[in-house]
């Protein structure tokens, strides 16, 4: 293990960084929002002041002009509006005021004193000279014109919408028209209209000269929405805000236009094509003529300072972040470096950890030093522990080796098959003891009592381990001794054994025992079962038979007063299968037991195996079943096979493929052997007939595309009969079923074939069919008549 300071710092940063960024972002955006609000408020305030000063200036000019017109109108009224006086007055207005371009008096035709129907004397400036003309003519009925009609209608002076002078000049004009009454506001006493034409050049200069920041500017909008004054003179009278709002469908612009019409002031953001960039706009109305003065502030410029500020804040933040990272790295390094050093010190392999003293750490924090001390203590404790452990291991290995010797001794006590115990080939016997621990309490034994008697026994001592093993060896030795003395009397042997082992048995060990004596001449077994598992007889053509007899309780607890026994007879080829409960109780990983059903199923397949093969095959099946699960109990097997082939005079064995030609060869060989043993020809022909029919059947039903079936044939010759075993690896063919059919339905009168199996079924004895290990197995006998 190695602690990396990087890693520690990494985790610190992972936690600190998002928090830092989160807080900063909050502050940053809050600050931005508040600053912007303040800025806008400030700008609005300043602009309002600026606007009102510009409006005051403009209104001053307009008011002055209005006053001139108004005062003149008073004079005209008071002088009984004599034409001479009017002429003098309006000429005076024009010549006396620089701003005034021209002035006109238009009579009310109804009260014209000189009976001219229309009269409108007009003075105007033309290149510095004052000129005169009468605007009234036959085709110029001025009473229908706005400048005449509108003031009359509202009965007060009014400014016209701006227009360009008639001379086609580039001067933008506005006319102030004031109605004159003899009596105030009496339409019947209406005298005429006095007009004053004013150039708006001054207004354009005034508005154009207004500068806000670098690129901010002002413009003036007429009541109709026309732009009448602008820094950029090309816009004047060219753009109309009402039209623009319709063209661009800009709701914000529409709102502004509406508010302007209603004479309201406002400060709004506007982003429209008509402005070069998104801007804030402030607008307010001139009282004289309802025109609106608007101030435009490009947003970028308005916020320039704010953005500058933000940039600085971000730079400061970045510097701060770097400082924090550096701090985190250096702190984590400082914290973990002594720890890493310590880890390097402790990073040692097992041997080194014990044998080399851990160095003292003097640097680092006190926690590290404490840890260092703790490890030194741990090391010395560990060294002590290992010493003790080694001592124990040494003692254990002594016990182990002794146990191993005991195991060998126990195993060497157990007999195995040898020629000397075969009774001239009549007996096959073998056993196996697999102890759950080194040594076990199971036992089996077999030995020759005399030339035709075999003693055999299997037993299970209560408990396991050394005690059980000692008890087991006592049982074996005692029964050997008593068998020698008592001869063929199984009951006497068992009684003596019981008597001896139940004496001084303070630990109350007991043994279940199945013991028997086989008469090798007859196959008869005289046996006693003292509480042991029932053995099983395996017979060649029969199901396993369980010998369910118990005569005594297990031996060792009490001395038994009476002993009974039973007899069974083994036929030649039969086996007796004996086992301890370790077999049936063998348990796999799922907790399932092997149980006696599985034992029976297994044994059905083993009827023709030798004892050793039966034992080996059973052990393989047990291992497959438990799949490596721990063995809890000793497993002991003993198999005794009786083979009295007295009657067998010859055995014919061969295997061949299922072809007629092959069978022809076999037939000749079989016939030759039959003739040699002087067996009569009827039996011979029957045998050949049956073999031919079965093989023909195998050929007919069993042949596959790839292989001809292989037939294994064995014929046991005796004086009375021929015993035949045939195996073939073709598909299963149930002869039993087939025989049932052929015998129930005698071939119809003129059925041509299909008589083969009928012949077989009628000509053989003891026919048995099984299917096992992928083979059809047939056994039958043919009696040999005299």
């Amino acid at each position: 293990m190695k602690i990396k300071s990087k890693k520690f710092a990494f985790y610190l940063i992972i936690w600190i960084l998002p928090i830092f960024i989160g807080i900063f972002s909050f502050i940053f955006f809050y600050n931005y929002y508040i600053s912007r609000e303040l800025l806008l408020k400030n700008v609005e305030e300043n602009t309002r002041n600026l606007t009102s000063s510009a409006i005051n200036k403009s209104e001053g000019v307009f008011t002055t002009l209005e006053k001139i017109a108004y005062n003149s109108s008073i004079f005209i009224k008071n002088q009984n509006y004599s034409r001479d006086y009017i002429l003098a007055t309006i000429q005076g207005i024009v010549s006396g005021n620089d701003e005034i371009y021209g002035s006109c008096f238009a009579y009310n035709p109804k009260i014209n004193p000189i009976n001219e129907k229309y009269d409108a004397p007009y003075f105007w400036k033309d290149n510095g000279k004052i000129k005169f003309k009468n605007l009234a003519s036959d085709d110029y009925n001025y009473t229908n014109w706005d400048w005449y009609e509108y003031p009359l209608k509202i009965q007060k002076g009014v400014w016209s919408e701006p227009y360009y002078d008639e001379g086609g000049g580039e001067t933008l004009m506005s006319t102030y028209s004031v109605p004159i009454y003899k009596n105030q506001s009496d339409n019947n006493s209406f005298i005429g209209i006095l007009t004053v034409d004013v150039s708006l050049d001054w207004l354009n200069k005034l508005i154009g000269s207004i500068e806000i920041f670098d690129t901010g500017y002002a413009f003036l909008v007429s009541r109709n929405g026309d732009i009448i004054a602008h820094r950029d003179t090309s816009m004047v009278m060219r753009l109309n805000l009402v039209e623009l709002s319709i063209i661009y469908k800009d709701p914000q612009l529409e709102l502004i236009v509406n508010e302007m019409k209603q004479g309201k002031s406002g400060f709004k953001r506007l982003s429209t094509k008509f402005l070069k960039e998104p801007s804030w706009i402030y607008y307010s109305e001139l009282e004289n003529n309802g025109w609106d003065l608007a101030f435009v502030f490009p947003e970028s410029e308005l916020y320039a300072d704010l953005f500058d500020l933000n940039r600085q804040i971000i730079i400061i933040f970045t510097i701060g972040l770097v400082l924090i990272l550096v701090a985190v790295f250096s702190i984590s390094r400082k914290v973990t470096q002594p720890l890493s050093e310590f880890v390097n010190l402790m990073n040692r392999e097992g041997e080194q950890f014990i044998n080399e003293p851990i160095p003292e750490i003097v640097t680092g924090s006190s926690e590290i030093q404490t840890l260092n001390k703790s490890f030194k203590i741990l090391q010395s404790e560990l060294i002590n522990y290992i010493k003790q452990h080694n001592q124990l291991m040494l003692e254990k290995s002594k016990i182990d080796s002794e146990l191993n010797i005991a195991k060998q001794l126990q195993q060497s006590m157990l007999p195995h098959y040898s020629e000397s115990i075969s009774f001239n080939g009549k007996v096959g016997i073998d056993g196996s003891l697999d102890a759950a621990r080194e040594i076990g309490g199971d036992l089996y034994d077999f030995f020759k009592i005399d030339d035709n008697h075999l003693f055999f026994a299997i037993g299970d001592v209560s408990g396991k381990g050394i005690g059980a093993a000692i008890f087991m060896s006592m049982v074996i030795n005692l029964q050997r001794a008593f068998a020698k003395n008592e001869g063929n009397n199984i009951c006497r042997i068992i009684q003596k054994l019981s008597e001896h082992i139940s004496q001084n048995n303070e630990k109350n060990f007991f043994v279940t025992l199945f013991a028997g004596i086989l008469d090798t001449e007859t196959g008869i077994i005289n046996f006693v079962n003292a509480g042991h598992n029932y053995p099983i007889i395996l017979s060649k053509n029969n199901n396993p038979i369980i010998i369910d007899k118990t005569h005594l309780p297990p031996l060792g607890i009490i001395n038994i007063p009476v002993c009974k026994s039973d007899f069974i007879q083994l036929k030649s080829g039969d086996s007796l299968f004996l086992y301890t409960d370790g077999l049936t109780d063998a348990t796999n990983g799922n907790g399932e037991m092997f149980n006696s059903d599985r034992v029976i199923t297994l044994l059905k397949e083993l009827s023709e195996y030798s004892p050793l093969n039966t034992i080996n095959y059973t052990k393989i099946q047990i291992n497959n079943f438990v799949q490596g699960a721990e063995q809890y109990d000793d497993i002991t097997l003993l198999v005794l096979q009786y083979l009295n082939y007295q009657n067998i005079i010859n055995i014919y064995e061969s295997s061949f493929t299922a072809h007629l030609a092959e069978f022809e060869k076999q037939r000749e060989l079989i016939e030759k052997q039959i003739d040699e043993h002087k067996i009569n020809s009827i039996a011979k022909n029957k045998l050949i007939l049956v073999l031919e029919e079965i093989i023909t059947n195998i050929i007919k039903y069993g042949e596959t595309e790839n292989n001809s079936p292989l037939i294994e044939l064995r014929i046991d010759f005796s004086q009375e009969s021929l015993s035949i075993t045939m195996k073939d690896n073709s598909a299963p063919f149930d002869y039993n079923e087939s025989f049932k059919n052929t015998q129930q339905q005698t071939p119809s009168f003129n059925q041509i074939g299909g008589r083969g199996l009928l012949l077989v079924s009628k000509m053989v004895h003891n026919f048995k069919y099984t299917y096992s290990n992928n083979k059809n197995i047939i056994n039958f006998e043919i009696k040999i008549g005299k």
Binding site: S681, L689, E692, N750, R755, G756, L759
Partner: protein, 112 residues
């Protein structure tokens, strides 16, 4: 297997010696069927020297029986060995082709 067909006045006497089994039953069938002159008259199979017959041979006998019954002629067996007799009895063929131990009874049966 040897087959000897003797044409008599009222029947054919077919003498067979040796064995009839799965290996030579086809040969047996061919020889019987190719003898054109065998048609039209009953047949007496002389099995005195036939030591062995299996179901393959029975099949040929049955074929011959079916053929004869179409021509309304009869078949019988003369003097079979013990083994052959048992096979014929066990398989039920003696129901269709009776077994006689002397030629006179056999001829009498087929001539009726």
């Amino acid at each position: 297997m040897e087959i000897n067909i003797i044409t008599k006045e009222n029947y054919f006497l077919v003498k067979i010696s040796g064995r009839i089994d799965a290996s030579n039953s086809d040969e047996f069938q061919d020889k019987l069927q190719k003898s054109e002159e065998i048609a039209g008259k009953p047949i007496v199979f002389d099995f005195n020297e036939l030591s062995y017959i299996s179901s393959a041979g029975l099949r040929v006998l049955m074929l011959t029986y079916v053929q004869c019954s179409q021509e309304s002629t009869k078949i019988c067996i003369l003097s079979p060995t013990e083994m052959v007799s048992e096979v014929l009895t066990v398989s039920g063929l003696n129901e269709m082709m009776p077994i006689f131990n002397n030629i006179e009874d056999a001829v009498k049966y087929v001539s009726e």
